[in-house]
Amino acid sequence: MKVSLERLTKTFDEKGKSSRAAVNRLNAEIKSGTLTGLLGPSGCGKSTLLFMIAGLHSTTEGKIWFGEQEVTNLPSEKRGVGLVFQNYALYPHLTARQNIAFPLLNSKNLKAQTQKKLDELVKEQGVNVKYKSYVDSLVAETAKLVEISDYLDRKPSELSGGQQQRVAIARALIKNPSILLLDEPLSNLDARLRIQTREEIRRIQQRSGITTIFVTHDQEEALSICDEVIILKEGTLQQQGTPQDVYDHPSNQFVAQFLGNTPINILKGKIESGKLYVGETEWLSLPKPLPDQRVNVGIRAEHVLAASYPRQQTLPVKVVKSFRTGGAFTAEGQLPDGQTLTFLNDRNDPYRENDLLRVYVRPQTMSIFDDKGDRILEC
């Protein structure tokens, strides 16, 4: 099911304060059957956006479409979405099995839908199955999909965090939703479990083929499993694209700085007469001519290459620090005008303090932003 968002805006009215838009004129289209991540720092409006798609928050302005149907004013239960809360919201007094079955047994809407399916099944196969048993079989099926079958008769307090989450996902999936929404599914888990669980989410999504949207503030997580990411800042769409796309070609400085485990280097410089200067040092000639201006140059640490032989268009760097975190070896160096450059270190022969070297960068791997942080150069 495709999800289209048209000029979506949400403001919260607060007495006495001028309302700031939590989501601001957002336009986006999420393709059917994909796993999409809503990524951004805290407070950027991603959860608000998710809840608007779910129908828990009303729309101040704009429209939401599920496929060809406009759902903007449709109440939550009629939208056919499954929602998994950050804290799972599992009913503590019911077992996992009862939690998963709950929607199908207690919602008039869903009961009718499921009953219809059962009726068709009965007609087709000629078997006589009671509604409750049908629901039980659906529970078993969904449990198998999320791999929680062995724990169905436990109460949430008897399950680990990861297991609780799978129950919550099962409860959302059993409705056969056209869209599955997850609010920060991994933030309550410890580091190792996070990696394992995100792969499971990926797996479940691929097996079921349901359009899935999840909210996260962890860029590594989003980049590793999503088909596409939508990056938000203060309610505004910054960029939408595949992980590789947004990583290699950030559309603005915010995106560039937000993504990447090692923060991207941002060097202040200028363009003068078609040449790029870092600080006051002339560095290289631009492949495409651009007007003279102050610029910020974004270079990822892994794209800073040491010149092993003298060549053109290099920058002199004096090594200031050399460090290692686990298996990652990086070094920090100082440019002539005092700016810092972070780059990768040789694990076999790490740089030492005060080493001098010359570095170069292939222009296609750079991102050049204007003063305000907007991208100006397509490399």
């Binding site: 129908g55 804290n87 207690n106 919602s107 409705k175």
Partner: protein, 321 residues
Amino acid sequence: MLRKKRNPAKARYDNSAYLYLLPAFLLMGIFTVYPVINTFVTSFKHDFQFLTGNYAGLSATHYLDVVSDPVFRRALLNTMFIAFVCVPGSMLVSLVLALGLHSIKRLQGFYLTIFYLPQVTNVIAAGLVFSFIFNTHFGLMNAVLGWFGIEPVAWISGEGIVGSQERYNEAYMRSLFVLFVNNVWDGLSLHVLLFLGGLQNINKQYYEAASVDGVSKWTVTRKITLPLLSPTTIFIFVTSVIFAFRAYANVVALFGGSYGPPGDNSKMMITLVGYIMDALGNYLTPGAVSSAGAAAVVLVLMVMIVVFLQLKLTKRWVFYR
């Protein structure tokens, strides 16, 4: 650098602590611990004389006297009524009110203040007011009934009950009704507040999850709210029953010092504590204090048994540890 003491047992003992505790324990000793033992012992002192302290040996006669006393049985019946009819009634009304309060935003504090008002009234004053509301000739209740063309009812004045068992039972039923109304009015004040507190403790996300699934409000209340409220409910039930067993002042205010209509000697509406107090009132009679003690011991035992049973039975209904 200040470090937390690792092993408090090894730390220096602060003997001045005993000075701090002295007043409390002195008072407790005299007015709490000693009385428990003494009351228990006195209840076995046959024909205990209050003024001299003499008694005719130890026996359980007073227990037998008490248990076979029809007035005691009456008191037991009335107290049970308060504990197991009035309390659930009050809880039911309060639960409905609390659910209503929980669903509104505006004026919630306003309504809650009104509902809590009975809690701050003097028990005697309230009882007297209720007594007057149900006054046969001048009371509000009969006035209201009169609007609907109903004849005045002798709620507590017990007219014509002398000599007629049937009339007596009628009067008793009516008095029970008055007691019920007074107890519910008084009880709901605290219960509404406690239920509301319990409701507010339920995480709102459960409701959000249910709304995405399209579960109706009534089903949500039945299958989510009430189960999650059960610890609060049980707490209220157990503590209210314990207090119900202590009912005394309001009954005196409602029905007078003779616990019933004038001219009737059966002490129609007496409670267990009332029985104890009356026995104490006769303290000069030999053995009166012993009987009072026996009744008190029986009362405490009953409360303990009732609470034990309550906790056992309700354990099944709570899903929490």
